[in-house]
Symmetry: C2
Subunit: 305 residues, 2 copies
């Protein structure tokens, strides 16, 4: 799961965006262009700088990451990724990414939190910018994880993914559905966005990703000339509220989990991670950053989870 | 599950239709009106008559039901429902329904097939017409079930539900996802409909129902002045193809299921049935047909599954 939301959430876009759906058929089409049309901030740009996205987009991400780190601070180890994994780019400087990964301390419910951004110039002249924040709980609790992702492929188009992916089969566990999805009224946010004319539902082209998300998942494509205003007015308050729900009900909620169930959770979490890696990474990471960098990043992440 | 697709699929609409979403807040609003604005065909109307829907809608349902009965004929017992459950109405004659239920013979993979239609005059002057066909497999196989439902609330608006609901947790079983949903290319139909301007995604207001369906589920609202043409041109070929996939890959597919897995399937199927009954029936069936008729229908159905 870590990889999904960090590196791979980014390449996952290549598989899941309707507008880029042919990428899996024609990989070369989505290699980053060799020409650089935008200034770069070099390898030392920090994760929290979000250097390539708009003000409201950056403000939202900084707010979400800060909130998680403030609330969970005592449960999180410092980020121990090597500097060349915390920030890395391709040889031509047309693709640039940052990762921020903090594992949970042993006694906590936190497996890890993971933030990332990715910038990649497109052959068309525009750029793809993805920012994400996710947090994963360990098998001491069965509560849902957190997944936030903003995927911007043009100045007027953005895919928003905002969800608490469940960690159990909801058909077999209606009480779990009630606790985390019905009683929390999470669907009101999806319903609010659904009513806006600039917004329409987004379907990932990966059926596995569609299976991983919850029934209240916000999977939306926003298309508007006033994207920054949309982020400020609609996306930001909703994302903050979903995060608050996750913190209050999931990260700090008390759940009793027996040994059999712990084994089940580990099995399901592991399957979800490995399958997501398979779907998301494929050839995308090497394609964007070259094999050497891809290996380095992957190896560093694997050490942590 | 039987109840869901027979009686309850109908009342499920009252919970799940966006346009009627307030029904759960104001049950009396959706009692059928006492005035009859349309001729009735009496209690003897047969299931296969589909007397209240358009020609293309009826043709589609007759085609689907006939195809299932022809292919599965030797595996199905005759319908043994009492006549006053095979067709029933309310006291004022404003609500009328029919059910066709055939259980599978002992040695088969079929639990039962279930067809139904429901007609109900609306206080607004229009009518609600629901037709459905579903088929459920037993624990000798883990293959998906079949669910087809057309819910027409006005001459220009229809909700289409077309799915093979999975019987296992797809996150934990990616091979299952591949076999039944990826390799069968079921998503192409959803993608085709998604492109039509008259069609938009439909979200059931029941989060449990959203959890029950597959990632390739067609859950669409069609709004057009030319609904009959839409049914003929787009809905009919897709529904027939989905049914063909279900028959070839699920009903006649060979699956090895161990004893532990059979117990799991029974548990999940039972949970799904009982939860769906709870969601769907609630007060809807008594409200539409009166308590006495509701009890009679429910009791007859319960005897079979």
């Amino acid at each position: 799961m870590a990889i999904m939301a960090a590196i791979a959430s980014s390449p996952s876009f290549f598989y899941s965006s309707p507008s880029l759906q042919n990428s899996s058929l024609s990989p070369s089409r989505f290699s980053c262009s060799a020409s650089s049309s935008q200034p770069h901030h070099g390898g030392r740009t920090g994760f929290m700088d979000f250097p390539y996205v708009s003000g409201p987009h950056k403000d939202l991400m900084v707010d979400l990451v800060s909130t998680v780190e403030n609330r969970l601070d005592s449960f999180l180890n410092p980020c121990s990724l090597p500097p060349d994994v915390q920030s890395y780019q391709n040889e031509t400087g047309t693709a640039h990414a940052a990762i921020h990964l903090r594992s949970g301390v042993q006694s906590s419910l936190i497996d890890f939190m993971l933030g990332s951004w990715l910038h990649c110039e497109l052959p068309s002249g525009g750029a793809l910018n993805i920012t994400s924040l996710s947090a994963y709980l360990n098998s001491s609790t069965d509560a849902p994880n957190l997944l936030v992702e903003l995927i911007q492929s043009s100045p007027t188009s953005m895919v928003l993914i905002l969800d608490l992916p469940p960690r159990k089969d909801l058909v077999l566990n209606p009480d779990y559905l009630k606790t985390f999805y019905e009683d929390t009224h999470l669907d009101q946010h999806r319903q609010h966005l659904e009513k806006l004319s600039e917004v329409r539902p987004y379907f990932s082209s990966s059926l596995y990703i569609r299976s991983v998300v919850s029934p209240t998942a916000i999977l939306m494509r926003i298309e508007t000339e006033r994207l920054e205003e949309m982020i400020q007015t609609h996306v930001t308050p909703i994302a903050k509220d979903v995060l608050k729900t996750w913190l209050d009900v999931c990260a700090f909620g008390e759940r009793t989990v027996g040994e059999t169930e712990k084994a089940y959770l580990r099995k399901r979490d592991d399957m979800s991670k490995s399958k997501t890696i398979e779907i998301d990474l494929g050839s995308n990471l090497p394609r964007l950053f070259g094999q050497e960098t891809a290996n380095r990043v992957l190896e560093a992440l694997r050490e942590v989870f």
